[in-house]
């Protein structure tokens, strides 16, 4: 049942992405309305999928690779929708839906059996820590997409060769606002996630709460990167190109952390 819902929502995401791409090329307004509805429907279906999986497993479905990535895609979809509700950034939906579809694809390829919780995951802190971290990563992913769009648009404006992207991308100012908005929320959630992770670690490992584990090290590096960027943004007024580049680099660190997640001490997939 839950896997069927997953497949249906995957198809709905693909449809939404296709229609978004049609809008991107043709720039016809009524196409965008359709794309939005499809994307919203897909996100709803995906939510149903996660709830039904929660019921089936009896715990928050973030234990296997399939589940984590599906949850990540779901968070991005809803973060996008929450952002969309407050701001308009032209064609942001196109880029976001591509990322969601890619993640869903990875998730669909991973084995989707429900895994029992490991010894350490029985704590109530585990779902809190994990979902905070994933939702934070979703906001940071959106910031990264915004950064890429910024760099594309800035290139056109600086080189004064107005090609394909110029008319299709939003203004630099709105992309910079998106960066600030997503970073502020993402960084706050990430900090909370790190903090709950720290308490969880104390719980399970007792006093020996620091492990030289690549996942934790990468998480720290990532956190420091974002912390530095936030600091520069708010005190020095860093913005634009520089902020966009750091956002993208820091998101690569996030992805590396996720890779280590599936191998390291947390051992979800094992």
């Amino acid at each position: 049942m839950s896997y069927l819902l997953f497949q249906v929502s995957f198809v709905a995401y693909i449809l939404a992405m296709t229609v978004y791409l049609v809008f991107f090329f043709t720039q016809k307004k009524y196409v965008r309305g359709l794309a939005r509805k499809l994307f919203f429907a897909a996100a709803l279906l995906h939510t149903a999928n996660i709830i039904s999986r929660l019921v089936a497993a009896g715990h928050t479905p973030i234990t296997s690779v399939h589940e984590v990535i599906s949850f990540f895609a779901w968070s991005i979809a809803w973060c996008y929708l929450s952002f969309r509700w407050r701001y308009t950034v032209k064609n942001f939906g196109t880029f976001s839906s591509i990322l969601v579809v890619l993640l869903m694809l990875v998730s669909a390829l991973a084995p989707h059996a429900i895994l029992p919780l490991s010894q350490t995951q029985h704590s109530w802190l585990f779902p809190v820590h994990a979902s905070l971290a994933i939702v934070a990563d979703a906001f940071l992913a959106l910031a990264c997409i915004g950064g890429l769009m910024y760099l594309l648009q800035e290139r056109e404006l600086k080189q004064k060769r107005f090609g394909f992207f110029y008319s299709r991308l939003p203004s630099l100012e709105s992309l910079d606002k998106l960066n600030q908005h997503c970073l502020s929320i993402g960084f706050t959630l990430m900090t909370l996630g790190m903090f709950t992770g720290y308490i969880w670690a104390r719980q399970i490992w007792g006093g020996r709460n620091w492990h030289w584990d690549p996942k934790i090290v990468w998480a720290m590096i990532t956190w420091f990167l974002y912390a530095a960027l936030m600091h520069q943004r708010f005190t020095m007024g860093w913005r634009g190109r520089r902020a966009a580049i750091v956002t993208i680099v820091a998101f690569v660190a996030v992805l590396l952390t996720l890779v280590f997640l599936f191998k390291g001490v947390h051992g979800h997939g094992a």
Binding site: L157, K160, Y166, E173, R239
Partner: protein, 428 residues
């Protein structure tokens, strides 16, 4: 004698990069170049137009090839090499020249098709030519006709509706950088007509404040008053960069007024908020290297052209209609040229003079006896040059558009003076 050829030489934004155009622009005004051209014997009438997008020289002459050489040397010898000029200049004759002038006047050849500034610039240039009396009957008629063609194009097509001036393109770009232009501050450097147009557009977009910097403070105050802005001196320019977002520069200064070194230190103080420079001056006011600074965008006139190119297609349909009008008027004008009445009189006058020359030469040579061929040639040359010098002013009188004596009358006067109709009252 054949009718004079109308020749138009020019460079515009399509054929020539800004870097060359700014060297060719007649920075010192029209007076001196017009006076220079007047001294050229080969030209009958002449007219000059120099704007930031084009330099056009219009003249009538007998020998277009040598006139072209002399005119170009006279105007551009100091600033641009001959090869460079030859590489970018275009030349139109007679019908082609008429058509080109009509296209320019009706703004079909402009960077922003349909903008209306060019007509004002053309009229201004014509005012100089008529004050200096360098334009004669043909050019007067041609220029007046071009004004009325422009007017016809404006009223019969919608070409002026979509784009009005370079500032339209600037507003488009500003929106891509700032999202919307509300709450943005604009600084105009130079208070000329271009600056005024830009201000008009930006205020229409709801900008928060307009600041005007100008060499003559009085003019700055005046312009600032129109937009409830404030005026500053040129010395305060760098200081003001901290507070403004959009800078439109259009001074007539020959050198750069802001360099990269002026702008770069301002950015941290502005907390790296974007700065948008628009340089519509020729020669350029702003250092092109300014564009390399992060979050700073600099566009000069040529760059704005690219923006304009993009929303061109809508205007193309109207342009077709406008071109038809131009074509129609060109044909009409050429018809007038053919029928120019003065020509037969001039031909008769010249042939009479030639006859006298030949008669007198024959008599004199007969009396002198033994002369070498070379000596004979020299004498003949002298006689014919006396003739043409004598006829120069009468011919000019015929061709010039006189305000009080109409052409028919002048033709009569000349014919009587030279006894071209042989009524026999004073046969000599």
């Amino acid at each position: 004698m054949a009718r004079d050829t109308i020749v138009l030489l020019g460079v515009n934004h399509k054929t020539t990069p800004l870097a060359v155009r700014e060297k060719m622009a007649l920075a010192s005004g029209y007076d001196q170049p017009l006076a220079d051209l007047r001294r050229l014997d080969c030209l009958d009438e002449c007219f000059l137009l120099s704007t930031c997008n084009r330099v056009e020289v219009l003249f009538t002459c007998n020998d277009p090839d040598s006139a072209r050489r002399q005119v170009l040397d006279m105007l551009f010898a100091g600033s641009v090499s001959r090869e460079e000029v030859a590489g970018c200049i275009y030349q139109h004759r007679d019908e082609e020249a008429v058509r080109h002038l009509f296209l320019v006047a009706s703004s079909l050849d402009s960077m922003i098709v349909g903008e209306s500034q060019i007509l004002g610039q053309l009229k201004e240039a014509y005012r100089f030519a008529s004050e200096k009396k360098t334009s004669g009957m043909v050019l007067n008629k041609l220029l007046h006709k071009s004004f009325s063609v422009a007017k016809r194009v404006r009223t019969e097509t919608k070409i002026g509706a979509s784009a009005v001036s370079i500032s339209y393109a600037a507003v488009e770009l500003g929106k891509k950088i700032f999202g919307d232009l509300k709450e943005k501050r604009v600084m105009l450097v130079g208070a000329g007509e271009m600056a005024e147009l830009a201000a008009e557009h930006l205020v229409g977009q709801g900008v928060a404040e307009v600041i005007v910097a100008n060499r003559t403070f009085e003019r700055a105050v005046k312009l600032a008053g129109c937009y409830h802005g404030r005026a500053i001196g040129l010395e305060e320019l760098v200081e003001q960069l901290q507070d403004v977002d959009i800078i439109v520069s259009s001074t007539g200064a020959p050198d750069l007024i802001l360099t990269r070194e002026d702008v770069a230190p301002v950015m941290p103080k502005r907390r790296y908020q974007p700065l948008f420079f628009i340089d519509i001056a020729v020669p350029r006011d702003l250092d092109p290297a300014i564009n390399e600074i992060d979050n700073v965008y600099l566009y000069d006139i040529d760059d704005l052209n690219n923006v304009v190119e993009m929303n061109k297609s809508e205007r193309d349909k109207e342009a077709v209609k406008a071109s038809r009008i131009v074509e129609e008027e060109t044909l009409k004008f050429c018809g007038w040229l053919e029928n120019m009445e003065v020509t037969p009189t001039i031909i008769e006058m010249r042939s009479m003079a030639d006859q006298i020359c030949r008669d007198e030469l024959g008599r004199t040579l007969g009396r002198l006896g033994s002369l070498t061929d070379k000596e004979k040639k020299t004498l003949e040359k002298m006689a014919s040059s006396i003739c043409s010098k004598m006829l120069h002013h009468p011919i000019r009188y015929l061709k010039t558009d006189h305000p009080c004596v109409d052409q028919q009358k002048r033709v009569e006067v000349v014919r009587t003076l030279f006894n071209l109709d042989r009524d026999g009252s004073d046969g000599s």
